[in-house]
């Protein structure tokens, strides 16, 4: 309890906790869950966008999308490395992803169906992610905070690229404009879900906020996201698929409809449109890749022994 109080005092004072510092088991556990889930989201998040790399409409767009997906894999790597400082290995976390013990962001269980989805994912999904992540640059765990600094810089670049795709579509042919609107229709509510259910219903929130692992409430962030995004949609000439959406002068923000939380919990339970496929794709990559990992390990071992023998 004394240790605990001292720990909390350090956090309250804005100090960063570093890997070798003492930390409560719950802090460690929560961070592993959160960072692991974040890392997994980057990895699984490659799939919906990867779905359109081979169909990108121009060489430039293909290059931009490839670079983006590559960045996401890179983010996964930082985050796994960050989580590893807490005493868990990447392979352990991967196996927990693959057998369903660890989650990834539900948004990636939705399909990407037209090229406009590449725009909407960048604009809305990365937009929501940034909203979550910017405050985490000030999170109490040092490696996590530092990973977030790097990630946020790239994510905001991705978001601009996504918005640029949407702009081209929204100002394009009638079919392109229809694609853009369709993408917004499908991805609006799933994006709002990315902030999680209302804090009233969220279990771990309070402790996480005290530990500065979580910096804002889900509802705060969601409101901020809506307030930022609605004018962007208007600028694109697109209609947010929410008839109740209205500016509320009093609160200085928009009133908006809640997403269908039953759908959210259904997706969490594995019943999203693409849960099965996403996990199957990752499992297949892992299983098919076993011989590669084994082969590389065996070779590295041979090298090591060779060097030792030569000494």
């Amino acid at each position: 309890p004394e240790k605990l109080a001292a720990f909390q005092a350090r956090i309250d004072a804005g100090e960063k906790i570093e890997p070798k510092d003492w930390m409560p088991a719950g802090y460690r556990k929560t961070l592993i869950r959160q960072m692991g889930q974040h890392a997994h989201s980057e990895i699984v998040g490659q799939l919906p966008e990867g779905n359109w790399i081979t169909r990108a409409p121009t060489l430039e767009r293909k290059a931009i999308l490839l670079a983006k997906v590559q960045d996401e894999a890179g983010h996964g790597l930082y985050l796994y490395c960050g989580a590893e400082t807490l005493g868990v290995t990447r392979d352990e976390m991967t196996e927990m992803l693959l057998d369903g013990r660890m989650k990834y962001s539900s948004i990636f269980n939705y399909p990407t169906l037209t090229w406009a989805d590449m725009g909407a994912v960048g604009w809305l999904v990365d937009g929501a992610a940034i909203m979550n992540q910017v405050p985490l640059q000030r999170t109490s765990y040092g490696p996590y905070a530092r990973a977030m600094v790097r990630i946020c810089k790239e994510e905001s670049f991705h978001q601009r690229q996504g918005y640029d795709i949407m702009m081209k579509m929204a100002k394009g042919t009638p079919a392109q404009k229809k694609m853009a609107q369709d993408a917004l229709n499908r991805l609006w509510f799933p994006s709002l879900m990315m902030f999680g259910p209302s804090d009233a219903e969220s279990t771990h929130s309070e402790q996480s906020m005290a530990w500065k692992i979580k910096m804002n409430t889900n509802d705060e962030l969601r409101q901020k996201f809506v307030d930022q995004t609605v004018p962007q949609a208007e600028y694109l000439g697109l209609t947010v698929p929410d008839e109740t959406l209205a500016w509320n002068e009093d609160k200085g923000g928009y009133d908006f409809a809640e997403p269908d939380w039953n759908e959210f919990f259904d997706v969490l339970r594995g019943n999203g449109p693409c849960n099965t496929e996403r996990l199957a794709a990752r499992n297949k990559a892992w299983d098919d890749g076993k011989w590669v990992r084994d082969g590389m390990l065996a070779h590295a071992e041979k090298r090591r022994i060779g060097k030792v023998a030569a000494e």
Binding site: G50, E60, W115, I165, A285, D288, G295, H299
Partner: protein, 253 residues
Amino acid sequence: MTDRAAYFEFLCRMGDNTLVLGHRVSEWCGHAPILEEDIALANTALDLIGQTQMWLGLAGEVEGENRSADDLAMLRDAWDFRNCLLTEQPNGDFGQTMMRQFLFDVWHLAILRGLEQSSEPRVAEIAAKAVKEVQYHVERSGDTVISLGDGTLESHRRMQDALNLLWPYVGEMFVPDAVDAAMAEAGIAPELTSLRAAFDAHMGDVMAQATLTIPDSDFAHKGGKSGRQHSEHLGHILTQMQWLQRAYPGANW
């Protein structure tokens, strides 16, 4: 064939090689056996697509019919593609992909080094940019071939299978035809045959380290770089690659 037509063909060969191989490599996105490999494959694909923009961009200018790099990539059917057959072969397993990459990279680096000396400054300039990227590709793919060739029994077997499968596609890259002859004569590109000895030496060295045996056959498939007879794979690649441009002609993206 006029010099300009041959020059256009040659540029299409360079650009189609990188386009088609870049496409193939990009198919891996999200499915690689190790996260670092996912990143590396995306990086390779990205480099190749970037080179495609330069080669096909120049090809369009040389042709003088107002076709952009995107027009060439997205609106030609299979018979107008000039990539060598190796680049359109399916990914297979990771070993097959890396073997294909290595066989291509070694040739690619050799021709790019020759092209750095091109009598056409534009070609020399593109080659100089690409060479830096491809130097890295060849190191990476060579290292992978070595470690998987000299890894476990299974990885060795798979790499040997990949080498056996893909070796018959090597010859096409080195057998010159009228286009190559015209390019060599004009000093635009090196003599293809002059690149073979160094290629063989490099192969020999890496395959020895990888404990792999180069097939004892000089049989070579052909028909890709001439466009006469691609494999059935290319048409399937194009159904994906060109889908949006075909389905929504004239749109800006």
